[in-house]
């Protein structure tokens, strides 16, 4: 668990005692400190919903369960250039505007089916080569990275072995490991 998850958990944990979590959510700020760019609490929520729409909770955990949107925010904060950070924020707005134009509401306010329509449009590369499409591509790839490198995925879906302790150079594909 990284420090941001830890902070998040403390917030959620203590909030559970007395405060309703929504009261904690400052509408103007993200839930943890970003060093190199700014996101509002609203934008953070939107990223969480977008991640969850990409990889929803089913009988198994989804994007929110593995804190995918927080990973995205961290990666844009720490591992992207200033230029890429600006592109990401502008793209996020463009994505929201595209959503509004096509559904009449923001992504956060849109229904599940409307959200799915927007993602379908993005997958079909509409709008073409736009800021919104670039943002979607980045968001999707980072969300997938968060999910496929999460503890859940690497212990339950495709098991990561820290200590293989064996090597067989040529075994039949059907043979279970």
């Amino acid at each position: 668990m990284n420090r941001r998850h830890a902070i998040r958990q403390i917030l959620v944990g203590s909030a559970g005692i007395l405060i309703v979590p929504s009261c904690l959510e400052d509408r103007t700020k993200a839930s943890f400190l970003l060093k190199n760019y700014e996101l509002t609490g609203e934008q953070e929520k939107m990223l969480a919903e977008l991640a969850e729409t990409l990889i929803p909770k089913t009988s198994t955990p989804g994007a929110k369960d593995v804190y995918a949107h927080q990973f995205v925010m961290t990666m844009i904060d720490d591992c992207a250039s200033k230029e890429d950070q600006l592109k990401f924020i502008k793209g996020l707005d463009a994505f929201n505007n595209f959503t509004k134009r096509n559904t009449g509401s923001s992504f956060l306010e849109a229904s599940m089916s409307k959200r799915a329509e927007i993602l379908k449009a993005m997958e079909d590369n509409k709008p073409e080569n736009s800021e919104a499409a670039a943002f979607y591509k980045r968001m999707k790839s980072l969300t997938i990275r968060a999910y496929t490198s999460s503890k859940f995925y690497l212990t339950q879906v495709q098991v990561y072995e820290l200590v293989p302790g064996r090597w067989h150079g040529c075994v039949p594909v059907n043979q279970s490991a």
Binding site: C79, K151, C170
Partner: protein, 563 residues
């Protein structure tokens, strides 16, 4: 001179060769001071990332942008990732001057780069030692394979080398622990190459990993390699050889080792009346206070270019250009390995098979160009790695439940294969390092100025590698063949060698056949700086053997009162 600052031997540097010097002297009862410019790294205790799971890294392995931007050189190194970047020198911490682009990759801590090395351990052969004399470049090596063979055996037994006895004169067999298997496609390629060529061989890449621990390894507290492939983090099993897991603790157990960290060697102290070195001048990296230490014998194992720097900076009125530099050779004839070129492809066969588990090596193709005689329009040749594997074919299509379903699929992709060239480069007077006249580091020591480049021979070799491997891959039925020339700067191979080369003649070489400075026989250089030529093999095993041999000689001479 203070008794408490006096030792039998001083070893400058605790990396792969310095560790060996320390072990050899300590176990024979000599009081040995090892000086390390960086911090301490204790085996097991100081491997903070060694057991972290992928999701425990905040950036899942990626180096933050600000660090990459500030440190472009080290960021080009394949091992500079979130899990091991604490073992690598940042550009900003230790600046140097690039007269021509040179990626100087360094590890300033106890163990040096032995924590991070690629662990490939191929012996040199007679063809390699004879090379300069036969082909008329550099100077004749003052030693031959037979001089080093027993010392290869000696270090291999202790370090633990996994290998297959292949019976090739181009790559002599050693003292091997059992090999891990080649995989299906590596075996297939091996068969194809031996069918199509008489002089080309695909063999198992010998490596410094314990496949089957012997008593000597258990005595070091080391266990069998588990195939984790996380070696750069430091190994909790001691599965691979490093100074930290092997030679240094061994030396420490004798009670004869004094290891001083944060000790930046400024210069070797030379007594011109006695024509010998008396000790070294050391600056504390933190307090910047200078202390002198004294010994009968000094081994310089600071890492190729830093060894050059120390010798160049050890000037006095009788050797104004640096210790061992009477003929202006020091710092010149530096060479490296040409690692620019890669080739990759796919193989559509063996679809019903896969690999299972992990192993620390893959296949190796010894040099086949110009071995018995000159046959191309360039000198020398190249070795190559060869590896193959099959990954899960990730399907990133769609979103929602469909994407989730796609990401859970375990369908295997085709076998992919790849090779990288390891070319010998020719040492030249024009490839040199020198001290900067103007710029100093934070300890007041002149910065190193590096002027090293490729030449026409290297370009021809790149072209030949691409042609020959394309042909070998094509004949094996590989498809989708892709070649690339990274044009990476010298240095990124991390195999820089020379500058204080060995030779017969003090007028044309810096060191004699026992690695002593011709002009100051109680100073020995046994790291990469001593190399007269580079051959194609990963050099660390040769440094280890040369060090053990030189230490043995030094002790014999000390006993006789010659040193």
């Amino acid at each position: 001179m203070g008794r408490q600052n006096t030792y039998d031997v001083i070893v400058i540097g605790s990396g792969i060769s310095g560790g060996w010097a320390a072990k050899e002297f300590c176990q024979k009862g000599l009081r040995t001071l090892v000086l390390e410019r960086g911090r301490d790294v204790k085996h097991l205790k100081d491997y903070p990332t060694t057991n972290l799971m992928p999701w425990e890294f905040e950036h899942r392995g990626e180096v933050p942008y600000a660090i990459k931007e500030a440190n472009p050189v080290v960021s080009r190194c394949y091992a500079f990732k979130e899990d091991a970047m604490h073992f690598m020198v940042k550009d900003t911490e230790h600046p140097y001057i690039q007269e021509k682009p040179f990626d100087w990759i360094r590890g300033y801590q106890v163990g040096g780069k032995s924590l991070l090395w690629a662990r490939q351990t191929q012996r040199w052969s007679e063809y390699d030692f004879e090379g300069p004399a036969r082909d008329g470049f550099a100077v004749d090596w003052p030693i031959r394979y037979k001089d080093l063979a027993p010392w290869y055996s000696y270090v291999e037994k202790f370090a633990g080398i996994s290998g297959n006895r292949d019976g090739l004169d181009i790559l002599p067999d050693g003292e091997f622990l059992p090999p891990w298997e080649l995989n299906c496609v590596e075996t297939y390629f091996k068969e194809q190459v031996s069918k199509n060529y008489t002089d080309r061989h695909v063999i198992y890449g010998r490596c410094a990993h314990i496949s089957n621990p012997q008593q000597i390894h258990l005595d070091q507290g080391r266990a069998q390699c588990q195939g984790r492939n996380l070696c750069q983090r430091g190994c909790p099993f001691g599965g691979y050889f490093s100074s930290n897991s092997s030679t240094l603790p061994w030396a420490e157990r004798t009670g004869n080792l004094t290891l001083k960290t944060d000790s930046v060697v400024k210069a070797i102290i030379h007594d011109s009346r006695m024509n010998k070195a008396t000790g070294v001048s050391v600056i504390d990296a933190k307090t910047k206070r200078t202390t002198e230490y004294y010994a009968r014998v000094i081994f310089v194992n600071a890492g190729t270019l830093n060894t050059n720097l120390i010798l160049l900076n050890s000037y006095s009125s009788d050797s104004p250009k640096g210790l061992g530099n009477e003929y202006g050779l020091l710092g010149k004839y530096v060479a490296f390995h040409n690692y620019r070129t890669r080739i990759s492809a796919q193989y559509e066969g063996h679809k019903d098979f896969k690999t299972d588990g992990g192993r620390p090596t893959s296949a190796y193709i010894p040099r086949f160009r110009n071995v018995k005689k000159q046959e191309t329009d360039f000198l020398r040749g190249y070795a190559a790695g060869f590896g193959s594997g099959r990954g899960i074919q990730r399907d990133y299509d769609g979103f929602g439940e469909q994407l989730k379903e796609n990401l859970s699929k375990k369908d295997l992709g085709p076998w992919t294969v790849g090779s990288h060239m390891m070319g010998e480069t020719i040492p030249k007077e024009t490839n040199y390092v020198k001290l900067s006249d103007t710029r100093r580091d934070q300890w007041g020591i002149p910065q190193l100025s590096i002027n090293i480049d490729y030449d026409d021979n290297d370009e021809k070799m790149v072209k030949d590698f691409i042609e020959q491997f394309t042909e070998m891959y094509t004949k094996a039925g590989f498809t989708n063949i892709k070649t690339s020339d990274s044009k990476q700067a010298p240095g990124l191979d991390i195999h820089e060698m020379g500058g204080a080369r060995m030779g017969h003649d003090p007028k044309t070489s810096v060191l004699n056949k026992w690695n002593q400075l011709h002009s100051c026989p109680n100073v020995f250089v046994t790291d990469g700086a001593c190399m007269t030529s580079t051959s194609t093999q990963n050099p660390s095993l040769t440094y280890m053997a040369i060090t053990a041999r030189a230490a043995d000689y030094a002790m014999t001479q000390m006993k006789r009162g010659e040193l």
